[in-house]
């Protein structure tokens, strides 16, 4: 279980440049409930890290030490924070820090600390020119990475990098039309982007979603997207003919699509058309049986 297998770095206790520091070993107290047995390399680095914390040293060697601790335990937020404070205190090369983060991120894309650290560095640097391509590289590893999307929104909004957003969104939906994170991003651009959201824009987006629905009619996300877009435009579903056309197109093909039925149900409710509402609820209870009780509730609610 040694995590030291692929690098032959000596322990800190064996390095002459650290001889002046007295390591502070782990103290679990007299009767530990959960005594922590570390592997040797982590215990070694941690005991030097504790010593540094006690003296508040800010130096180049601290950067190396925190890199070791973080490399062995990327969720160690105390080590990240100490590194950040040290980098700022030393006025270190922040571009080198971005490279450090990228290497860490490739191995631990879901570790929140990495993203938070990158945000702090970029914020200080005031240069976000590499960030969208960095996020794209991370999304190529996992296109639903929650941290990556959150970070992307921060960068795009703060530095006004809206130009490539819809292009990237479209590319990612082309790769996986079911990726809800991408649909969320598309909506976020419509809502927050520099272009005012107009009725014409709404029509374009419904046409876009309809095209994507044709690829996978049972995909929940574009249907939800249409609802959101219509609401954003301040309209109601029943008053947008394109939505009705979309739903009826499946009837014409003799296809049962529960999401289309659910949309038609909402339109019938808007029109206060009780008999259609009930008919559709019965169809949904049959074709989406796991939520049968929900559709039964909708039928009662409409009466």
């Amino acid at each position: 279980m040694s995590s030291n297998g692929d690098n032959e770095e000596p322990l800190y206790g064996e390095r002459p440049e650290w001889a002046d520091v007295k390591p502070v070993p782990q103290d679990d107290g007299p009767n530990p409930l959960v005594p922590i047995a570390y592997p040797a390399d982590y215990a070694d680095a941690m005991s030097y890290f504790r010593a540094i914390l006690a003296t508040s040293e800010r130096s180049e060697r601290v950067l190396e030490l925190t890199a070791t601790v973080i490399g062995l335990n990327p969720g160690h937020y105390t080590a990240w924070k100490y590194r950040q404070d040290t980098v700022l205190a030393l006025s270190s090369n922040l571009h080198a820090e971005l490279e450090f983060v990228e290497n860490m991120a490739e191995e631990n894309p879901k570790c929140y600390q990495i993203w938070h650290y990158r945000q702090a560095i970029v914020d200080r640097l005031g240069d976000a020119s590499r960030e969208v391509s960095f996020v794209n590289r991370m999304l190529a590893i996992d296109s639903k990475n929650y941290h990556a999307w959150g970070y992307r929104q921060w960068v795009v909004k703060k530095y006004g990098l809206w130009d490539g957003e819809l292009r990237d969104v479209d590319r990612l939906l082309e790769a996986d039309v079911r990726n809800n994170s991408v649909w969320n991003q598309r909506f976020w651009v419509m809502e927050n982007g520099p272009e005012a959201f107009s009725a014409q824009k709404m029509d374009e987006e419904i046409a876009y979603a309809a095209q994507r629905i044709a690829q996978a009619p049972r995909n929940e996300s574009p249907w939800t997207y249409i609802r959101g877009i219509v609401r954003l435009a301040g309209k109601t579903l029943a008053k947008v003919p394109a939505i009705n056309d979309l739903c009826t197109s499946f009837e014409a093909q003799d296809m049962i699509v529960p999401h289309a039925l659910a949309m038609q149900l909402d339109m019938a409710c808007e029109r206060k058309d009780v008999s259609t509402t009930k008919t559709i609820c019965d169809q949904l209870a049959e074709h989406d049986p796991i939520r049968a009780k929900y559709w039964a509730y909708r039928a009662t609610a409409a009466a």
């Binding site: 530990p32 969720g75 924070k81 994170s181 796991i290």
Partner: protein, 325 residues
């Protein structure tokens, strides 16, 4: 509640789960054990709550747990995930919940905890998790949960926090972890505990019900895999909204029971995977919410036994799912 034993693939393996928990401490030579050091306090909470829901709380040595929890408290009043770790709001809540479950609140210096939580408040009503500054709707939930357990909701500006949570509500009715972030079942559960009155119950209830997949399991976001932990996050939210009946309970119970490890005990994220204490507690709590027999009734707001939270003063919000028998 309906009887489910007829459809169960295997019974609930209570004794085996107790053995699984008691064996956790013996795994110290495994990589995952030390790599999760900063989570240790949460691990203790999950283990204790699992045991409590299974009526086996006495299996953990009460005094040892109390001393361990207290050793994680820092100068600033908050708790770290383990001894000598910086304070984080999440571990601070875990500490309070453990002390409450062990009926040891007299050992806790509550005023210091409250001071710490107040220090995490930001101007927009949100909260940062630690001195470093991560912001997430989870931390609004944690704050409200923790202060309500301490009977001190007056210590923060609740309406402002509610306003912040509202800003995280999305076009699909769910909630993300920051304004604009994708809706996520976990965040949604936490958000509505914080601010039930601003929820569109039917729209949100439907989004939550849509999380159920054909095999009975629930996912956290559309087109993601099902996971036992969402049995808790989705179900607790539906329970508070009084809409648990919108999903298929029997198939979800079956899914959770199938995720048990029949050899080692414990529950995994889904059938066939390795079990851990995180999925164990949310699996057991999910079963309790579903009315599975032999378990303590669980409070969907706190993921703690109802007999504990029943002692709390009542909120000024109508918690339908909680008060309904």
């Amino acid at each position: 509640m309906s009887s489910t034993s007829a459809t169960s693939p295997q019974p609930f393996l209570l004794d085996l789960h107790v053995q699984f928990i008691l064996g956790l401490d013996k795994k110290q030579d495994e990589f995952e054990y030390w790599a999760s050091e900063q989570l240790r306090l949460n691990g203790v909470l999950w283990a204790l709550t699992s045991l409590d829901l299974m009526n086996r709380k006495a299996e953990l040595k009460r005094q040892d747990v109390i001393e361990f929890v207290l050793s994680c408290q820092n100068e600033d009043g908050g708790f770290g995930g383990s001894v000598e770790h910086d304070s984080h709001i999440a571990y601070t809540l875990s500490a309070v919940q453990i002390m409450m479950t062990l009926d040891a609140m007299d050992r806790l210096d509550a005023s210091r905890v409250i001071t710490y939580i107040q220090s995490r408040a930001l101007a927009d009503g949100s909260f940062s998790g630690d001195e470093w500054g991560e912001v997430d709707t989870r931390f609004c939930y944690i704050t409200i949960n923790c202060l309500s357990l301490l009977g001190r909701l007056d210590a923060i500006d609740v309406p402002k926090t509610v306003q912040y949570i509202d800003a995280c509500r999305n076009f699909d009715g769910g909630f993300g972890c920051r304004p604009g972030a994708e809706s996520h079942a976990g965040q949604t559960a936490l958000a509505i505990v914080g601010a039930l009155e601003l929820v569109e119950a039917d729209k949100l209830g439907w989004w939550l019900a849509e999380r159920q997949l054909k095999n009975g399991g629930l996912n956290g976001r559309p087109e993601k895999l099902e996971d036992v932990c969402y049995s808790w996050w989705v179900m607790s939210a539906l329970s508070i909204l009084d809409r648990v009946h919108w999903i298929n309970k029997d198939s979800l119970i079956k899914f959770i029971l199938e995720s048990q490890d029949p050899e080692t005990g414990g529950i995994a994220d889904r059938p066939g995977d390795y079990p851990d204490v995180f999925h164990l507690v949310f699996g057991v709590a999910g079963l309790s919410l579903l009315g599975y027999p032999g378990l303590q009734p669980v409070d969907p707001r706190y993921c703690m036994s109802r007999y504990i939270t029943d002692k709390l003063p009542k909120f000024n919000v109508d918690w339908k799912g909680v008060n309904k028998e």
